[in-house]
């Protein structure tokens, strides 16, 4: 199939639109001038300033902690929820349960944040890292559950039944048969939860207290006043990390795919 001129134009313009803003951001993070939009010369000094800025480093550490804890917890809870929904058959309150899994996906963040904050105040929980972790776990477990259930729906249930017939306990069958098969979905669920947590501004702003500031909160309060060179440097670092992560992940999955293909042809 050959691409027509129209299609080439829309692809070029489309991807330019998607990537140009970020390319500009990256390029200008190496600008020497404090006036961000005026190029005066190449310099890495904003990266130096960033690394000397204790407030940013602290916020990055808080964000990282929150993301690790909440995504791990969300993966466990989300996988359990998916298993219950797909394999649990009919149980009392199943409709409510699946409703509660899907609702947070479409609920505006301002509402999720507000409602959780009101809960934490109501039960007198002091706000800080713990409350952000609880909040992030709640909405990202729903994403994990959706990703994992799509994998659970697709796989052959007789494999589990065979394991049970051959004397496995239900937990053994889950650990030895189900988990290895759904592992890719569980891993991508964890990655998704991790990114969502790293990224979240609104829910964290509502549920945090004075003791914990995350990176998005810090960035937001800095950029409200306008464009700043330190934030450009920080953004570049974050874009670099994500790009690297995605490339590594896609290479790994490609290698797995090739392995599988080879195994299939050998069989």
């Amino acid at each position: 199939m050959r691409l027509s001129g129209f299609n080439i134009t829309s692809l070029t313009l489309g991807f330019a639109f998607l990537y140009l803003p970020m390319v500009i951001l990256v390029v200008y993070s190496f600008n020497e001038s404090r006036l961000v939009t005026v190029w005066t010369g190449f310099s890495t000094k904003w990266y130096g300033e960033l690394l000397n800025n204790q407030a940013f480093l602290d916020a990055a550490w808080v964000t990282f902690k929150v993301a690790v804890f909440s995504s791990t917890l969300a993966t466990v809870l989300g996988t359990l929820a998916a298993y219950a929904l797909v394999r649990g058959g009919r149980f009392l309150g199943r409709t409510l349960f699946s409703g509660m899994i899907y609702a947070p996906l479409v609920m505006p963040e301002v509402i999720t944040g507000l409602s959780l904050l009101l809960l934490f105040i109501g039960i007198g929980l002091e706000r800080g890292v713990l409350t952000i972790v609880l909040a992030h776990t709640t909405f990202s477990m729903c994403y994990v559950s959706v990703v994992v259930s799509s994998r659970l729906v697709a796989f052959d249930r007789s494999l589990e039944e065979a394991a049970l017939d051959l004397g496995c306990s239900p937990w053994g069958a889950f650990r030895l048969v189900t988990l290895p098969i759904i592992a890719p979905a569980v891993i991508s669920g964890w990655l998704l939860a991790f990114t969502l947590s790293l990224d979240d501004l609104v829910i964290a702003s509502f549920t945090t207290g004075p003791s914990a500031t995350t990176l998005p909160i810090k960035i937001f309060s800095a950029v409200r006043l306008g464009v700043s060179p330190e934030i450009n440097a920080l953004s570049t670092l974050m874009i670099a990390i994500v790009t690297l992560g995605v490339i590594v992940a896609s290479l790994l999955s490609k290698r797995n795919f090739v392995h599988q293909q080879q195994r299939n042809t050998v069989d």
Partner: protein, 293 residues
């Protein structure tokens, strides 16, 4: 027995951290603002009993929402902004999805990854990247002034135009992916048949391609419309004080005015408005699944 435990943990978690909090919002939306800590009355107490508590509830906050211009204007303006930007995203996203579905097979995986990649990058940073482009001394104005297209810098940042650009930019992957999914399944011989039977290219596109990608279009539109309606980050970074959106109003009501009952009432009404598109979206997805199986 163990199965019950498996379902129970996430179930209880969501009850406690999703449903109960929402019930609290509902309750506070029916309370009065008060100079207290927390700043609303009545506070629920089991000693007085539910009857006494219920008798103190009122719909004052909801009537307040209808009397003060700010709120209904913000709801209307959010609906308008969400609808307009959904349409814009469709108009820009469709040709991209279409072209992706027409590229040779070996390119498609890479193009898909390129569409998804921005989604993994911070939303906040993607919105922020437009501040430098659109500001008065920004890159776009520099470029246009340099080319001599304009003689005065355009005012783009802190206008609705900037909000539209921000929404289209951040949500376009949600439009491209479902449309691409519908288009790449499309059987090319159908279009050839239409052309053989005397359709012009444009007519074949309009009569065959568009209807067959309808599900993708509908799904994409809802995926953009629903989250934009309650958007906060984009209007507050790009929209300036002139852009009214309900997510921003809720935030300001809560953090700046500290009026919790009104903020809660705003939230309840927003959920009620959202239920309609969400139910429609669900129905569309179900129909699609039934059609596929």
């Amino acid at each position: 027995m163990k199965r019950v435990v498996v379902a129970l943990i996430p179930y209880l978690w969501l009850l406690g951290l999703f449903l109960v909090p929402f019930a609290i919002v509902l309750k506070i939306s029916l309370s009065d603002v008060a100079m207290a800590r927390p700043p609303y009355l009545p506070q629920f107490s089991w000693n007085e009993g539910i009857g006494a508590f219920l008798s103190q509830l009122d719909f004052e906050n909801f009537t307040f929402l209808t009397t003060d211009d700010l709120y209904w204007k913000a709801y209307l303006s959010s609906l308008k902004i969400a609808a307009t930007s959904t349409l814009l995203t469709l108009l820009i996203g469709y040709p991209i999805a279409y072209a992706m579905a027409r590229t040779p097979e070996q390119w498609r995986a890479t193009l898909m990854m390129l569409v998804i990649l921005p989604f993994w990058t911070s939303f906040l940073i993607r919105v922020y990247s437009w501040m430098g482009i659109l500001s008065q001394e920004g890159y776009l104005n520099q470029l246009l002034l340099g080319l001599g297209v304009i003689s005065e810098p355009l005012i783009l940042l802190n206008t609705k135009i900037a909000v539209y650009i921000g929404i289209v930019y951040t949500y376009i992957p949600f439009m491209i992916l479902p449309i691409y999914a519908a288009l790449h399944r499309l059987d090319n011989s159908l279009i050839e048949a239409a052309e053989d039977l005397g359709c012009s290219r444009a007519k074949a596109f309009w009569l065959v391609t568009v209807p067959l990608s309808r599900n993708g279009i509908v799904a994409g539109c809802f995926l953009v419309f629903i989250p934009t309606l309650g958007e906060f980050v984009i209007p507050s970074l790009l929209g300036g004080s002139g852009t009214l959106m309900i997510g921003k109003v809720l935030w300001e009501e809560f953090f700046n005015n500290r009026d919790w009952p009104v903020a809660s009432a705003v939230a309840v009404v927003l959920v009620l408005i959202l239920i309609i598109p969400i139910v429609l979206f669900q129905q569309n997805q179900q129909k699609q699944q039934e059609a596929e199986s």
